[in-house]
Every structure is written in C-alpha cells, then in structure tokens.
C-alpha cells in the first residue's frame, strides 16, 4: 500500500474506509489490521451500552470484523462502510444478547464514586455522562442502540434505519420514546445545566 493511500485510509474518512475494505477484499492483512484498530473502539463503545461484559464485547467485535474480512468482496459501496460494519455488529449483538437473555444493566452506582471530589467543569461533564449512561442502560435494546448511534456516533436517522433494518419513522419513534424516558430519569441532572 503506498503512503498516499495509507494516509487516506488512516484518516478514518468514508473514502479511507472504502479503500481499506477494497484492500481487505484482496486479502491484505495489513489493511484489515488498520480497519480493525479503527473500528474496534467505535464498536466497543457502541456495545458497552448493551452489555458490561468485556469478554463478550471483544467477542462480538471480533465476530463482526471477521465477517468484514470474509465478506469484504460483497461490499458494493451502496452505503458507507461504517453503516455496513455497524449493521453487522448490531445483528451480532442482538443475537448474542438475546441468546444470553442479558438484562439491561445500570452502571451508575459502580461509576458514581470514581470522580468524586473534583468540583470542576470536567467533573460535571463526567457526572452527567455517567448519569446518562445509567439512564440509557434502562432503555429497551432498540431504543438504546438508536440513542447511541445518534448521540455517540453522530449518525443520521437514515443511516441508523439502514443499520437497524427498519423504517426511518421507526428510528424517530424509538428516539422519541427514549427521550421521554431519559427526560424523566435525568430531570434533576439536566435542570442544573445552563
């Protein structure tokens, strides 16, 4: 891989991802490792709001990226690489979590004391992030996924609909219900915000 292409691929843009997938389809392991390292944190953050089990998160990410390795040649470029990869991850997660019947976990308590005693803005941000995390963890899986893809992965509703294989209006409805639920759970947290 020449330096120009490698730089483009490493940039993490949609075009860079497409270049990497093309290389992966040709059996380029170096390209696969670049893609793996780029997507692992994104997928892991997406998955860690669905399960708190680190081994399970790593297993689902590996299963997802193994499919990418094996099926890269079938990627036709009709959507972004990130949409394709997240769609695979979402399906893998749904299958794994339904198979485990793992309940939604509230992580607020285990995180609440971590940053206690830091009365600065950053602490406020972290405290709110913990509170939101805990509230999001109580949402049904589909609402949780739609919420995360919107607020933590900055995806548009059309892309989310493609990932979750549902109509756009379903995504909007899921977000609407998620917002109502979070507004109740975070009422005290958000009132103090400017």
């Amino acid at each position: 891989m020449d330096r120009k292409i490698e730089a483009q691929a490493a940039a993490g843009t949609a075009e860079g991802d497409a270049i990497l997938v093309g290389r992966v389809a040709a059996g380029d392991r170096h390209a696969f490792e670049m893609l793996y390292r780029a997507y692992f944190p994104r997928l892991a953050r997406f998955l860690q709001r669905m399960t708190r089990s680190v081994p399970l998160i790593e297993e689902i990410v590996n299963d997802t990226l193994l499919v990418v390795w094996q099926k890269a040649a079938t990627f036709d470029g009709s959507c972004k690489v990130s949409t394709w990869v997240f769609a695979i991850a979402y399906r893998k997660a749904c299958k794994a979590l339904h198979a485990l019947d793992e309940p939604a976990e509230a992580s607020a308590d285990e995180c609440a004391g971590a940053d206690a005693g830091r009365p600065d803005w950053r602490f406020e941000q972290q405290r709110l992030a913990h509170a939101v995390d805990a509230a999001v963890a109580t949402l049904p899986l589909a609402q949780r996924a739609a919420f995360q893809l919107t607020f933590y992965h900055d995806m548009g509703y059309a892309e989310i609909a493609e990932i979750m294989e549902c109509p756009v209006n379903t995504v909007k409805t899921r977000l609407f219900h998620a917002r109502r639920r979070l507004a109740i759970l975070l009422e005290d947290q958000l009132e103090v915000r400017p």
Partner: protein, 235 residues
Amino acid sequence: MNPYVDSAADDARHNEAQDALPWLANGTLCGTELDRVQAHVETCALCRADLAVLRTVHAAGPGPDLDWDPERALERLLPQLDAPLPAQDVPEVHAVQAPPAQPAPGLRRRWRTLLAANDRTWLRAAVAAQFCAIAVLAVLLARLTAQPDSNHDYHVLGAAGANGAARVVVTFRPDTPERELRRIVRASGARIVGGPTVTDAWLVGADGRLAPVLARLRAEPAVTLAEPLSTDERP
C-alpha cells in the same frame, strides 16, 4: 393544544421539528429539512429548550470506556482469518445470509429422534407399510374369491384322485385289523386314495395295469369286494 403553536400548519412543523431535534443536535440534519427545522426552532421556545437539553447530552458524550483491549482481541482473531467461511450474519442488503449450520446430532440422539412417536418421517413410513400390507392382502383375497379351488368341486366315488389313478373300490371284512388292511393294499400293488366311506369301502388306485391288482385283491380272504371303477364316469 401546544401553547407555543397557533395553527395546524405550525403544529405539523412543530412535530416535524421535535422528531428531528436529535439530528439537529448531532449536526447530521441537512438540506431543506434543516432549514425548516431551524426556522421553527427559532420561533419555538419549547423546541429550543429541548434542543438545549439534547446538545448537553451530546456534549457530555458517553461514559468512560470499559477495560477492553483491541490488541488482545486482535491477537485472538488473527488465527481465525484463514478458517473456512461459515454462515454469517451479514445484512441482506449486502450479502445473502445463509441459514445457520446445525451441529450433527450424536448416534444416540439420532436413534432417539428416529424412534420418537411424534417423528413424522417414521410415522409416514409406518403408514405406507401398513397400506402396502393391506393392499397385498386385498389382492390375495380377491384372487381367491375369483378363482375357487377346483378341489371343492363335486366328486363321485369313482372319480380320479390327485393323479387320476383311482380305479378300484374295495371292502374288507369288518374284523380285519388295520395292519392287515395296509398289508393287503401294499401287497396288491395299489395304494389307498380315499375312504373309508359310510359303507366302509376304500378307494384304491393303481399306477400300472389294473387287472393284476384286481386279481391280487380278490385273492385275499379279508377282501369282500374289489370292483373296478371308471375315472371319467359321472353319475
């Protein structure tokens, strides 16, 4: 009625904006939809308040990462890259999803399944076998009915036996022992093919010439009657 809107058109714009607020907050809204939603938000205090909350949530970002390790996971994955391609969960838009592979059941499990009373394959085979057996029996019964046994036809005493050789009717003295009776028949070169009748007559046949047989029978003191019969005559 929402106090912030005063017409059905405004109500529709408000609902559209409310649905779109999360994507206005994350910056992915675009085109005319972005223009419409922004225009509405500028005039709607409720939407502005909701947007402020969503932007706060967006800015706060996710909580801390868990202790996952990409390099550790990659090390586990690399040996699998050369494995044969199994059925996968690939979205249908991009690849046709193969049905999940079922593990091969053990021998005991296969037999248990095979012999299970609710196994449809086994039941179908049993019903088919029963049907075949019934069909064969029905055919046999029909043939027996259509072709009555000729042995059931009426026979006169002088009619031929199985080989058509019965020709002599013989009677013995009443006190002749059974052993003596057999000796006489055997010595005459004949053989019993029927009897005794209600008159204690026996029907004997001879494969060879009839006259010597008849003569030997008549020579026996215990024989009271020995008369030839025609095999073809009917009363």
